[in-house]
């Protein structure tokens, strides 16, 4: 008998019975333990059919334990009579369920297809890297397991993870790599890919010596690990990628799917046993929150680390809901059966709406406060108790009913996010915890955001469109109350966007000036609200197609601390060439240095000067080709394009060269002169720099610059004349007119003929 304390690294179905657990012991050892863990699923429906299922299962060779019971279905008032089917072998449960559902398809199944880690989490409160105390016998069979901490702790003790980083020496999608780079505890290694046998021998030795807990790779899912596995098979030299001996790695196929109006591509995945593998290029939200965020997602969703890093936040939040349901003895449906309730046309018109999105007052505004509701939708769900099984709330805060499944799941997450946010604000900028808190809080953000979406998703297990509509209804109400409060206090509301409003009032320049407004909004909505910051200036841009129209999400501005916020302009777009985005960013940084309205005139001049330099670089060939690459996402199969877009034309070139671009993937390309117009970057031969369509890049750059300078009275045409001629004259701008424009009217954009005449 041994008592062990340590961190729970991995958990999966044991080959025999129960689950296998890997513990990073405080003694520095990695322990493989086994725990008895029978799993149960349920069937319900017509009595006769249920009886037939029962007698079929009685004769089944797996010999499940059968019992009759009553359980709670979230969508029914009365408990449901169910047949409970319990199996000691966790690994054979999916197979038994599949056979049963194929043979008896017209029964309802519950708790049937759940991840083993979630079942374990609901029973023991376990989660990846939880501190655990385990009592085990000599054979490593767990007698007792106690989890010592909670995923909601603000400062979890850092687990002593041994991380081995592996990456090819170049992007395998672009050129063939020559070597493999490895890094372990600050030590770098380089292994040539040829000869193959010595690569395998070296890598094997490294894996044995370092025995990493986490393989952190780049292109590991799509290129590196599949290739190493093939080599290992060909050379008949086993490679110990798994810690668990005798198990193969788990490979999941690539795929494209449709989500939020976009085709998303996910590469194939390679998952290990007893050790985690994360491919930072294939991890869903890596660019948003890196390893800290992935660890946090794993802790709070209870999904294994390597799974949590790859799944979408939607799967993350459903996992949390499933764990809550299992914990409270609520049945988790295999397939949802609730259709939408019938409703009147008037109700449909009133409730089938999203958040309030206003058309801002376009132009340049000074001293603008940005007031934000903190996690508005999740707060409404928790405070108004909105859940599929609770009735439509009749007020913004408070409920006469016991908390529903969704509020129960969200409340601790929301509390942790708010606590982390408040702590980040109080920490000095040099404190290393700031970065950690930011990564964690960003992981929370995505889970909370998708939780609202999943309420309205027809295939979500705990979704119901009426609950989704209840959230937006009360969201609109809260925003309108905030608008009324602001106007009562004499503020002009420049813009409103779902959960935030931009307000301005003569004499209000400091955060303290906005405090009475915050208090009033908090009082009339009972929702948490904060001042996101005070803008020195902010510019709301008109539509690109029609300058008379204002659009909600195209703006940029500078906060009092000099930080910049921009939405909907080139530097935020993922299909902008780095050269264009960087120039725009540099120009915006230049503008942001102006502290007073009077200093803006000089800053605009300096920004135009930057543009002039960049254009010169473009025409003298000083811009590296990589900076001119544009990444276009394929929205469908190649055959599906009637008029091929630039992305599709580049993808065709790749297909002709033997590569297979899939829908949802980004194709990198250069714009060139000639009939094709584009040249795919990942073709075998190098592109010809002479063929570049410089005029097209010039147009892209001028358009990006005009987006930025339009509020200062400069359009694309003017910029072209100024930057292409060599006029060194002092620029005079109609800026003052724009600064003074405080009237809630839209001024049409004046063609700047006069300015042009002055300059040329």
């Amino acid at each position: 008998m041994a008592d062990l304390t340590g961190w729970l690294l991995d958990l999966y179905e044991d080959d025999d019975e129960g689950v296998a657990l890997w513990l990073l012991g405080d003694d520095g050892e990695r322990h493989r333990l086994r725990q008895d863990f029978p799993v149960t699923f349920f069937a319900a429906g017509d009595r006769g059919r249920l009886r037939e299922l029962w007698s079929w299962l009685r004769r089944h060779p797996l010999q499940p334990h059968l019992a009759r019971g009553r359980r709670r279905d979230l969508f029914r008032e009365e408990p449901l009579t169910v047949l409970s089917i319990e199996l000691d072998s966790t690994i054979r449960q999916p197979q038994l369920f599949q056979e049963a559902s194929e043979r008896f398809p017209n029964l309802d199944y519950y708790d049937a297809d759940l991840h083993i880690a979630l079942r374990h989490a609901a029973r023991f409160g376990s989660f990846p890297l939880a501190r655990c105390h385990v009592r085990a016998d000599r054979e490593g069979r767990v007698q007792a397991l106690r989890v010592l901490d909670s995923p909601w702790d603000l400062d979890p003790p850092p687990a002593p993870l041994r991380v081995l980083a592996l990456q090819p020496d170049c992007d395998p999608a672009h050129t063939d790599p020559q070597a493999l780079l490895a890094r372990f505890e600050g030590q770098d290694y380089r292994f040539s890919l040829q000869p193959e046998r010595s690569l395998l021998v070296n890598l094997r030795a490294l894996l044995h010596r370092t025995d990493p807990d986490l393989l952190l790779t780049s292109s590991g899912d799509t290129w590196l690990l599949p290739r190493l596995l093939t080599l290992s098979r060909e050379q008949r030299l086993p490679l110990p990628l798994n810690r668990e001996p005798g198990l193969g790695v788990l490979q999941k196929k690539e795929g494209s799917y449709f989500s939020y109006g976009q085709i998303i591509y996910r590469g194939q995945q390679v998952l290990l046993y007893g050790r985690c593998h994360i491919d930072c290029r294939n991890a869903m939200m890596w660019q948003n929150y890196d390893l800290e965020g992935a660890l946090e997602t794993a802790r709070i969703t209870a999904l294994p680390l390597q799974v949590a890093a790859r799944v979408s936040p939607g799967t993350g939040i459903s996992s949390m809901q499933i764990t809550t349901a299992l914990h409270h003895g609520i049945l988790v449906p295999w397939r949802k059966q609730q259709p939408e309730q019938p409703k009147t046309a008037a109700d449909l018109i009133r409730f089938d709406q999203g958040g309030l999105v206003y058309q801002p007052i376009t132009g340049l505004h000074f001293d603008v406060g940005m007031v934000d509701f903190i996690s508005m939708y999740p707060s409404i769900m928790v405070r108004s108790n909105i859940s599929p099984e609770t009735p439509f709330p009749d007020r913004l805060v408070g409920s006469d009913h016991p908390p529903g499944l969704i509020p129960l799941t969200l409340a601790p997450l929301l509390e942790k996010r708010v606590a982390l946010k408040q702590r980040t604000l109080s920490l000095p900028s040099w404190d290393p915890r700031r970065r950690l808190d930011k990564a964690r809080s960003s992981a929370h953000k995505w889970l909370l955001v998708t939780c609202f979406g999943y309420l309205g998703y027809k295939n979500a297990r705990f979704g119901r469109i009426e609950a989704h509509e209840a959230v937006t209804t009360w969201g609109r109400e809260a925003l309108l109350r905030a608008k009324e409060a602001a106007e009562d206090l004499g503020f002009t509301v420049l813009h409103m966007y779902v959960d935030g409003l931009w307000v301005q009032k003569e004499g209000c320049r400091q955060p303290a000036d906005f405090q009475p407004l915050l208090e009033e909004v908090a009082a009339c909505t009972s929702l948490p609200v904060a001042l996101d910051g005070v803008y020195r200036w902010v510019a709301f841009l008109p539509s690109r197609l029609d300058a008379r129209l204002s659009v909600p999400n195209r703006y940029f501005g500078v906060f009092q601390d000099g930080s910049v916020k921009a939405r909907g302009i080139d530097l935020r777009r993922r299909d902008s060439a780095p050269f264009v985005a960087d120039t725009q960013r540099e120009m915006l940084r230049c503008l942001s240095r102006a502290k007073e309205p009077d200093a803006l005139q000089a800053s605009v001049g300096a920004a135009v000067e930057i543009l002039r330099c960049r254009l010169k670089e473009l025409h003298t060939g000083a811009v590296p080709l990589e900076d001119l690459l544009v990444g276009k996402r394929l929205s469908k199969e190649l055959g599906g394009y009637r008029v091929p877009s630039p992305g599709a034309r580049a993808a065709k070139q790749l297909a002709a060269a033997g590569k297979t671009p899939r829908p949802g993937q980004r194709v990198r390309l250069l714009f060139i002169r000639g009939k094709e117009g584009v040249c795919a970057w990942d073709l075998p031969g190098p592109p010809d720099p002479q063929a570049l369509d410089l005029e097209y890049y010039e147009r892209l750059l001028l358009r990006a610059a005009a987006n930025l300078l339009q509020p200062f009275g400069l359009d694309e045409c003017t910029l072209r004349v100024w930057t292409c001629g060599n006029s060194g004259e002092q620029l005079s701008l109609p800026l003052r007119a724009w600064c003074r424009q405080r009237e809630p009217y839209r001024m049409p954009l004046q063609p700047l003929q006069n300015v042009l005449k002055d300059c040329s």
Binding site: Y260, G261, A345, A346, L348, I349, R350, D352, Q353, L356, V357, Y358, Q359, G456, Y457, K458, R476, L480, M496, D546, R548, L549, S550, E743, P744, Y745, R746
Partner: protein, 88 residues
């Protein structure tokens, strides 16, 4: 996406397109003025959506009137200021 009813922007575009024949038969100068009217109705799309009327065209017309009246008020004030300046 996933909606039963068209969004307010879609409804607006449908209403505007319903007047395509009317617009075509107008003189060019009148066409441009009509476009201005529609553009002004677009400024209040979110309020129109919130109003949730079964026939949004009424609210679009009211939005056009609203912008017209704001323009009248602005011109009236400017006129007053000019008169004041002339007198002074």
């Amino acid at each position: 996406m996933g909606r039963t009813l068209p969004s307010i922007t879609q409804a607006f575009i449908q209403e505007q397109e319903a007047f395509a024949r009317f617009r075509r038969a107008l003189r060019r100068a009148d066409q441009l003025a009509l476009d201005d009217l529609f553009a002004s109705a677009r400024q209040h799309l979110s309020a129109t959506a919130y109003a949730s009327h079964a026939l949004p065209m009424e609210t679009f017309l009211l939005s056009m009137l609203l912008e017209q009246h704001k323009e009248v008020l602005r011109l009236r004030r400017e006129l007053d200021e000019l008169r004041e300046a002339l007198r002074g």
